[in-house]
């Protein structure tokens, strides 16, 4: 332990703590910008590049200005965080940053969510007095998911830490040196030329608009305004526990009813739920799981709901392409059923139907464009908007979500069980599959449906489930760095699991690349998580196979899980991607 004094307050902290850590301990605020601490996931970006956190440090009479975020404490240090000199230095740092930043705040997608803008406001920078060379770069629009505008990059390297250390994908890295240095894919190629999986974690980490989503709002407005199109919408599980934040509601607000009401106000012809197709996924996946466990063949089975993780597999572990479940993700299953079963029911031609998805995810934008999901020119899903984009649309329409009265989803694609909503949290897909698989194998009712061992934010969770004497080993992992560890084990033949759930984003979809920005405050994720399980608890039906509309869908259309029709509409395959 070391004892130091900050602004005349004594504080005792662990030896390897930084001045910033010590200040937090006693509730003293020091501004930061390049620093990012994703405490829950043990990921810290300590680039020390922006210098906004400068403080006055006196170590045994040696006086110096030091960056608080990356200076370790020393016994007896005397720190001042808000002297006039310190404030002046911070203002200079901001002046320098702004001197090479485009003045586009009015039209910037990150406006009011930008950490640089917030600091400029906080420090009362009303005029930029430093002028000099500006760096300009071509905008990278190459992908369906992520827009890169390097002229807004402040070289904090938060994206690099997230992409390389947390996700172990390693697309983004420092390139070049001096004024010309950037953080970019290898050789500054567009993102589509790299091994990017479109998880969007870098977008969540970026403090400015250097990395944002590719926006499809105007396409969706156009579709809604087209009288010849039947435009329907589906909402992913995690959206309902995130969107409230965009309207000033506390994190963890369950906004299902407001969400459906808001979507109806926007003019969608029908408001449906991805949770419905999550239940459908479980029907198909539990069936596949049981088949494979019975034959003791091709194990472990891996979940396939997360397109970010599927991309990762296709790039990094092509030798394992045969082990994920062949089930399409709930988003794609929804589209396939909407444009067949539902279209038929209401007498609309599939080509006259537009399916819009609201997703917490950027990889879903890419997924919707995969060739396998386009048949005879008809795509399962036409447009994918993030939770953030939906909030934007609602604001454009003057709809205050927080003021709306709860409404229900439409049927027949709107009903769902508690097992579906938990798809939004890491562990949920597996838990949902277990609830159904247990009853199908044992033909008995599962009394306690809660498999708590697979819940929570840890990167790797393991459990052994006793299904009437059959011991099923399961693992749940989220974050691609953790996935890599498990996949390497499988590759080496060292893993002894029957089923594994993998999500690209740490903590699962509730922390997806399309969710409201958390600016490093991971406690928000805990609140979203709690909300997810509380929705599950509040449902009367908590097992996917008990959803009456799912039963009806099989009776009227699909016949049974694994049927010919199911395979045609609801299953897919994976392909090696060249590195």
């Amino acid at each position: 332990m070391s004892r130091i004094t900050i602004n005349d307050i004594q504080v005792e902290v662990f030896k390897d703590a930084t001045i910033l850590d010590a200040a937090k301990e006693v509730g003293i605020y020091i501004p930061t910008l390049c620093h990012l601490d994703l405490e829950q996931f043990n990921i810290e970006n300590k680039a020390g590049s922006c210098r906004i956190c400068m403080v006055d440090v006196d170590t045994n009479g040696r006086k110096k200005m030091m960056p608080a975020c990356c200076t370790p404490v020393e016994e007896g240090m005397v720190v001042k965080t808000n002297t006039p000199e310190v404030v002046e230095v911070r203002r200079t740092v901001l002046q320098l940053l702004l001197s090479d930043h485009p003045f586009e705040c009015l039209t910037c997608p990150k406006s009011l969510d930008c950490e640089l803008q917030a600091l400029a406001k906080k420090f009362g920078i009303y005029e930029v007095t430093c002028t000099g060379k500006m760096s300009t770069y071509e905008i990278d629009h190459s992908s369906k998911s992520i827009k890169r505008d390097l002229s807004k990059c402040i070289m904090c390297r938060r994206c690099e830490t997230v992409c390389t250390t947390m996700q172990t994908v390693g697309v983004l890295s420092g390139f070049g040196r001096g004024f010309k240095a950037v953080v970019a894919p290898p050789e500054m190629e567009p993102l589509t030329e790299s091994v990017c999986v479109f998880c969007g974690q870098c977008v969540n980490a970026c403090p400015t608009a250097a990395l944002t989503e590719i926006n499809y709002i105007s396409d969706v407005w156009k579709a809604i305004n087209n009288p010849n199109k039947k435009v329907i919408v589906q909402t992913a599980p995690a959206v309902r526990v995130g969107i409230g934040e965009e309207f000033g509601l506390p994190a963890g607000t369950e906004a299902t009813g407001m969400l459906t009401a808001g979507l109806r106000r926007l003019g969608f012809d029908a408001v449906f739920d991805t949770n419905f197709s999550a239940d459908l996924t479980i029907m198909e996946e539990a069936h596949e799981l049981i088949e494979r466990v019975k034959k003791n063949e091709n194990l472990p089975i891996l979940t396939s709901c997360c397109p970010g993780w599927i991309n990762f597999l296709e790039f990094q572990f092509p030798e394992l392409l045969n082990i994920p479940s062949t089930c399409k993700s709930p988003q794609q299953m929804f589209g396939a059923i909407a444009k067949s079963y539902y279209a038929e029911k209401i007498g609309v031609k599939p080509e006259d139907m537009v399916v819009v998805s609201i997703m917490p995810c950027l990889a879903k934008k890419y997924e919707a464009s995969r060739e396998e999901f386009i048949k005879d020119g008809i795509t399962d899903v036409d447009y994918v908007l993030t939770t953030r984009e939906l909030a934007q649309m609602l604001k454009e329409a003057g709809i205050n979500l927080d003021k709306l009265k709860d409404e229900e989803y439409d049927n027949p694609l709107g009903e769902s069980s508690g097992a579906a909503v938990i798809f939004g949290a890491s562990g949920g897909v597996l838990e949902a599959a277990l609830r159904t698989a247990y009853e199908w194998i044992t033909k008995k009712t599962l009394g306690n449906v809660n498999f708590k061992d697979v819940r929570g934010m840890e990167g790797v969770k393991e459990a052994t489930v006793d299904i009437d004497g059959l011991k099923v080993n399961v693992a749940v992992t989220s974050g691609l760095g953790n996935a890599r560890k498990i996949l390497t084990k499988i590759k080496k033949g060292e893993a002894n699991y029957h089923a594994i759930e993998i999500m690209a984003c740490p903590g699962g979809c509730l922390n997806g690349g399309g969710q409201p920005y958390i600016h490093g405050d991971t406690s928000i994720l805990d609140k979203r998580l709690k909300a997810i399980y509380s929705i599950d608890e509040s449902k009367v039906i908590r097992k996917s196979h008990e959803n009456p509309y799912i039963k009806k869908l099989y009776d009227e259309f699909l016949i049974e899980p694994g049927s010919h029709k199911s395979h045609d509409l609801l299953h897919t395959q994976y392909f090696k991607k060249n590195k």
């Binding site: 390389t164 697309v171 390139f175 040196r177 894919p185 290898p186 050789e187 590195k579």
Partner: protein, 179 residues
């Protein structure tokens, strides 16, 4: 070794085999965090073998050292010494470190440019000569320093540029005669 990659960029298979043998001799543990420490020496070797470091070579190195391609590309972009485009057979490098610069390296560079009718960073049309600049090579006592292929010339004046070039132009010619 992935033969597709060699075909893709049209570089000789033997050169990849040589690099493969070299990387193999280093016995790199792909799970050791310190493996990135080998990157510079592997890049040196590769540039020596291929003459430059195109993307195909970069990816080969990334795969075999066990680091992301972005790391390889990032390191190459950081050091002036490494190049991703082919250089001339005879590579003229002028040191632009502080000492050399102060002692007139800028003028020496211009003289080479004038003599060969190419600019810094370019290759002559026949592929025989290229000019680039280096950051301090650590021979400040000899400033200004010019390195031609592996040979170091010290205290270079603009007047000597023609003499130095004559050596290599003749050499090129003798080579051509022998063939």
């Amino acid at each position: 070794m992935d033969s597709n990659k060699t075909l893709e960029i049209g570089l000789p298979k033997e050169q990849f085999e040589e690099l493969d043998r070299y990387i193999g001799s280093l016995k790199i543990d792909k799970e050791d965090e310190r493996r990135t420490g080998y990157l510079i020496q592997v890049l040196h070797k590769a540039q020596h073998i291929f003459g430059y470091l195109p993307v195909g070579v970069q990816k080969f190195i990334a795969e075999n050292v066990g680091v992301p391609h972005s790391d390889v590309s990032g390191v190459i972009s950081f050091y002036n010494y490494f190049t991703t485009v082919p250089r001339g057979k005879t590579r003229i490098s002028v040191c632009m470190g502080t000492a050399c610069f102060v002692k007139g390296a800028g003028k020496v560079l211009s003289e080479f440019e004038r003599y060969l009718k190419i600019k810094n960073g370019e290759v002559s049309e026949d592929g025989k000569f290229s000019i680039d600049i280096l950051r301090c090579v650590g021979a400040c006592g000899l400033a200004p320093v010019v390195i031609v292929n592996d040979k170091v010339y010290g205290n270079v004046t603009t007047k000597q540029v023609g003499d130095i070039m004559a050596l290599y132009i003749n050499e090129e010619a003798t080579h051509a005669d022998k063939k």
